[in-house]
């Protein structure tokens, strides 16, 4: 506590490494963007209700030059940015950024995240992304307009779409991806390594489980879409033509559908990335407010794991109308409908938790029950899209929009309010006003249901999504009154959210002071004060039981409480599965779990997995493109293989020198380590220099990304690898400088080892690239 006093205001609130402060930064950013996304939605509903009529109020604000009318070129920007902002800049920051950062260390009994500085960088990467997204509204010709799914070639052909908004949108998403991946490393490593003594995996709250699975999915699949987005950038600004075919294509061989496979390869898991933490939260909150243990805890966790696995192999159901082989479609259909089985288990367990409970209806519980209701609709309507014949009629209609707004928008919207209203007292030490909260719940719950149900209704009638004016079609004229009605209801919904804003700010300053445990919750976070001290726990907690020990028989008579806190030693006498103090308590705090791998190294491995997936995306695309191309040249006749061979040799040597450096660390020879670090860095630089000469030469020979698919693939793959070598050299030089002062041989040795892993990885990637690009 003394230490924190000395820190400046900037270090404490702005560039803080405290996970709780960072969580609040994420929360505020996310809520602001939720408002931006909400206003964009409202503008769309107004345009659809009264096509080409002046928009009241907002029209004068945003569309003054056209007299408040939304022009046809503006409307696509509205739905593109609504989707992009809601998914990546509102819900992701709140449900992964804020919920993850705030709860993970507190719930598992850690003092902070595994990498607090990386955590701070995660937030600021998102912040930069947010700035880029906001700036994109104001560049000439405005924000991105190809839909948030960025289907190619609409997004990737410069001839069709020369607008800078798309480039900025991709840049903003890339920064957000850095934030999410770095955050994911922190979540995974923190959960694996920093659990308090006795906090077995099966004693973690379900929210923590949800966040863990969600971080795993991000680590695996986000790099895939990152690869695809960079390929779009290459298409646009280098004329590469990976995703462009037909008359617009710069050269033969581009494949339009490849982008959709890459996009939905991430895009479908993204649904679960966002909903998994909410499922966890629902499980925990139902248990707390029913004063009963979570029913079928293990079955819920296993179901989450099964969905995590399934989510990566069902993407094809987004592409039934794309011209995909119907047999492949059938496989995707069967895989997709299987998701309903684990989902059914959730519902069974949620109802099981309520069964014979003692249910109270505080505001967080109301929002939780709201999630259960809307997710039932969202989940069940999902079945319609797994069924091929039906999906072909419903594809790209408002029936889809309604469905995914039930699963994503409504569930996540209500879920994030469950999160905020539940954790508000812990975060800010004040209580929210429950009456305002209840009115806000009922307004939000009823109105989102009306709006999204109406969307499904017009969707049944065939109303296409992303059209600016339904009255242009004869068959849609009968349902135009529903569009008018939705415009009105959306207006009320937007207004009703002011209740939350008012409650949030009023309670922040004037709310009742919150106790340490206002909800009588059993997990570790609620054993410390509200708000918690800087490093969470004055003394490292020891955990004796699971997170949901409510209504334990005989307990109330003895202690006056109906629940056992996870750190309550009474668990030993009251519960059969309570355990005596683990002997491992004597071990140092961080060496508890998986002692054979250090935190730094584990972090590096998680990072490398996402790197592997990035290169899998790139190399996989290369293979698909090359197999589809008819005019692929013999690489040996185009490339200077002698020079590239020498370069390969140089890189292999650098791996060797790095290995010698690590050997020096183990021998305790710091001087030798410094020498080898420098040699490795110089070899890396030599590789990059030769590479640049190679590029220069090839470019003058006429091998450019725009000239042939071969050129495009060559520059993409080797260019990405070159950037990795460059960042590796930067790390090496940093280590070299740092090793003048820091003792790497005794204290920080694992940093050298982790960097070594990265360097070897880069070298392996090169050997693979050399083999498949230059030799075959």
């Amino acid at each position: 506590m003394m230490e924190s006093r000395k820190k400046s205001w900037i270090r404490r609130y702005l560039f803080s490494t405290d996970h709780k402060v960072i969580a609040i930064q994420y929360l505020i950013t996310g809520l602001l963007f939720l408002a931006v996304g909400g206003i964009l939605a409202y503008l769309m509903r107004l345009q659809l209700a009264h096509p080409w009529q002046p928009i009241p109020f907002f029209g004068n604000l945003f569309f003054k030059e056209t007299g408040g009318i939304i022009m046809p070129e503006i409307y696509p920007k509205l739905f593109t940015m609504h989707g992009g902002i809601m998914v990546f800049f509102a819900v992701t920051p709140i449900l992964l950024g804020a919920l993850g950062n705030y709860t993970i260390p507190l719930e598992i009994g850690a003092r902070d995240m595994a990498f607090p500085r990386l955590n701070m960088i995660s937030y600021w990467a998102l912040f930069l992304g947010c700035i880029v997204i906001l700036v994109s509204f104001f560049v000439p010709s405005g924000a991105a307009d190809a839909g948030w799914t960025l289907y190619t070639p609409l997004s990737s052909s410069l001839k069709i779409n020369p607008n800078w908004g798309i480039d900025l949108f991709i840049l903003g998403l890339a920064l957000d991806a850095v934030s999410i991946l770095a955050g994911g490393i922190n979540y995974i490593v923190t959960i694996v390594k920093l659990r308090a003594p006795g906090m077995k995996l099966t004693r973690m709250p379900l929210t923590t489980w949800g966040l863990l699975f969600s971080a795993i999915l991000n680590t695996l699949w986000l790099p895939l879409v990152a690869a695809a987005l960079f390929m779009i950038l290459a298409d646009r600004r280098l004329g590469a033509g990976f995703f462009v075919a037909g008359p617009l294509a710069p050269h033969e061989g581009g494949q339009v559908l490849l982008f959709q496979h890459l996009f939905w390869g991430f895009g479908h898991p993204e649904v679960y990335i966002l909903i998994l933490p909410v499922w966890g939260l629902v499980g925990d909150l139902l248990s707390i407010f029913s004063r009963k243990p979570a029913f079928g805890y293990l079955a819920t966790v296993i179901s989450m794991a099964i969905i995590t696995l399934l989510s990566g192999i069902v993407w094809g159901h987004h592409m039934f109308t794309s011209g995909m082989n119907p047999i492949v479609g059938k496989v995707f259909m069967l895989l997709t409908i299987t998701v309903s089985v684990p989902t059914a288990v959730f519902f069974f367990n949620w109802l099981g938790t309520l069964w014979r409970g003692r249910i109270s209806f505080d505001v967080p519980m109301l929002f939780t029950l709201g999630v259960v209701f809307v997710f039932a609709i969202g989940g069940l309507t999902g079945l319609f899209f797994a069924v091929q014949t039906l999906d072909i009629y419903f594809h790209d209609t408002y029936f889809v929009v309604g469905h995914f707004h039930f699963t994503l928008a409504a569930s996540l919207f209500l879920g994030l309010f469950a999160f905020v209203t539940f954790w508000f007292p812990k975060m800010f030490g004040r209580e929210l006003n429950p009456t305002l909260g209840k009115i806000h719940f009922w307004a939000s719950f009823i109105l989102v249901n009306i709006i999204f149900f109406s969307m499904m209704y017009v969707g049944l009638h065939g109303h296409m999504r992303r059209i600016a004016d339904a009255t242009a079609y004869e068959f849609l004229k009968p349902i135009q009154p529903v569009n008018i009605w939705m415009g009105k209801v959306t207006g009320i919904l937007v207004l009703s959210q002011l209740l939350f804003v008012a409650n949030f700010f009023f309670s922040l300053f004037f709310g009742k002071k919150a106790e340490a445990n206002p909800w009588q919750a059993a997990s570790l976070a609620w054993t410390v004060s509200s708000p918690p001290p800087e490093h969470n726990f004055e003394k490292d907690p020891v955990v004796y039981c699971g997170p949901h020990e409510y209504g334990v028989e005989g307990l109330e008579l003895k202690t006056g409480k109906d629940f056992l806190s996870q750190d309550d030693p009474l668990a030993i006498t009251f519960l059969r599965n309570g355990e005596r103090k683990a002997q491992s308590q004597d071990l140092s705090f961080k060496e508890q779990n998986l002692p054979w791998i250090s935190i730094t190294k584990l972090g590096m491995w998680v990072f490398l997995i996402s790197e592997i997936m990035l290169f899998t995306g790139l190399i996989g695309s290369y293979i698909v493109l090359r197999l589809g191309s008819h005019v692929w040249p013999n690489p040996a006749s185009v490339l200077n293989n002698a020079v590239l061979g020498i370069n390969t040799f140089i890189l292999i040597c650098s791996s060797l020198t790095f290995a010698l450096g690590i050997h020096a660390v183990k021998e305790g020879k710091q001087k030798e380590l410094r020498r080898f670090l420098l040699i490795t860095a110089l070899l890396g630089l030599a590789f990059i220099t030769i590479k640049l000469f190679d590029y220069h030469h090839l470019w003058h020979e006429g091998v450019t990304p725009a000239a042939s698919l071969f050129g495009a693939c060559y520059y993409l793959l080797t260019g990405f690898h070159g950037l990795h070598v460059f960042s590796g050299v930067v790390v090496l030089l940093y280590l070299w400088f740092a090793s003048r002062k820091l003792e790497f041989c005794t204290v920080h040795g694992e940093r050298i080892e982790a960097s070594g892993l990265y360097w070897h990885f880069i070298d392996i990637v090169w050997v693979i690239l050399f083999a498949i690009l230059c030799l075959v």
Binding site: A299, G323, L380, T389, I392
Partner: protein, 238 residues
């Protein structure tokens, strides 16, 4: 008012039937879940003297119940729908109806539908092709096969009154077929966002008797066809 737009095709009702089956299955499930939810919320609400029943739901009985539920969902809903889908698919996408089919090539572009009939020689990309923009005529009760290829970005050929849809992608040919059973004018809509004019990319499909269709074809054949696009009919299922 019906939930769907008017059905003008030979098999649209198969799609509608499948929808009502799915609606029934999911509707019953939904009502069941909500009924249990509401009953529990009322019955087990907190009041003086109520004590929660302490259970982790991890007993053998709970496990068997979970497994039973999973199996029920899988077979009663999933497999059930998959089987019905198989038969509906066969009719809507798998088997071309009997009859002499009309072949049409469509090349959408931002923001119009280019339409091409093979003309008297029955071959595409020849001088006697018949082309039109946004106006498609087909006769009653004859199968129509449409081959699609986009000129620029992805569009999606959507006939709401026929319950079918197929993306038109640049660089590849996709196809669909249908058979009209009701005379009239129907909307051709674009279902894939294709730029700022997406909302007004509307074509008209006129379904008429064989005689008036032939009359229209003869009228059109006097016009000079658009030779800037078109491809030899091939690699399209017939």
């Amino acid at each position: 008012m019906s939930l769907f737009p008017e059905d003008a095709s030979a098999v649209g009702h198969e799609v509608d039937k499948l929808f009502y089956l799915a609606l029934g299955l999911t509707g019953v499930t939904f009502l069941l879940v909500v009924a249990i939810l509401v009953i529990f919320l009322i019955r087990y609400r907190a009041k003086a003297g109520r004590k929660a029943y302490y259970t982790h739901g991890s007993s053998r009985k709970a496990f068997l119940f979970t497994a039973l539920l999973a199996l029920t969902v899988f077979f009663a809903i999933d497999v059930n729908l998959a089987i019905h889908d198989h038969f509906a698919w066969e009719k809507t996408w798998g088997r071309l109806p009997n009859g002499n089919p009309i072949l049409i090539e469509v090349m959408p572009q931002q923001f119009a539908w280019n339409i091409r009939y093979p003309g008297a020689d029955g071959k595409f990309k020849t001088e006697d092709d018949i082309t039109s923009v946004n106006q498609m005529h087909v006769p009653l009760n004859r199968p129509v096969i449409i081959a699609l290829q986009s000129k620029d970005v992805i569009h999606s050929f959507f006939l709401p009154n026929f319950r079918i849809k197929q993306d038109a992608v640049p660089g590849m040919v996709t196809s669909l077929f249908f058979m009209a059973t009701k005379q009239g004018a129907y909307d051709i809509a674009c279902a894939e966002h294709c730029g700022l004019g997406h909302y007004r990319m509307r074509g008209i499909l006129t379904v008429e008797t064989e005689e008036s269709f032939q009359k229209w074809m003869t009228e059109q054949s006097t016009k000079i066809p658009d030779t800037s696009w078109g491809w030899k009919w091939g690699n399209v299922k017939t």
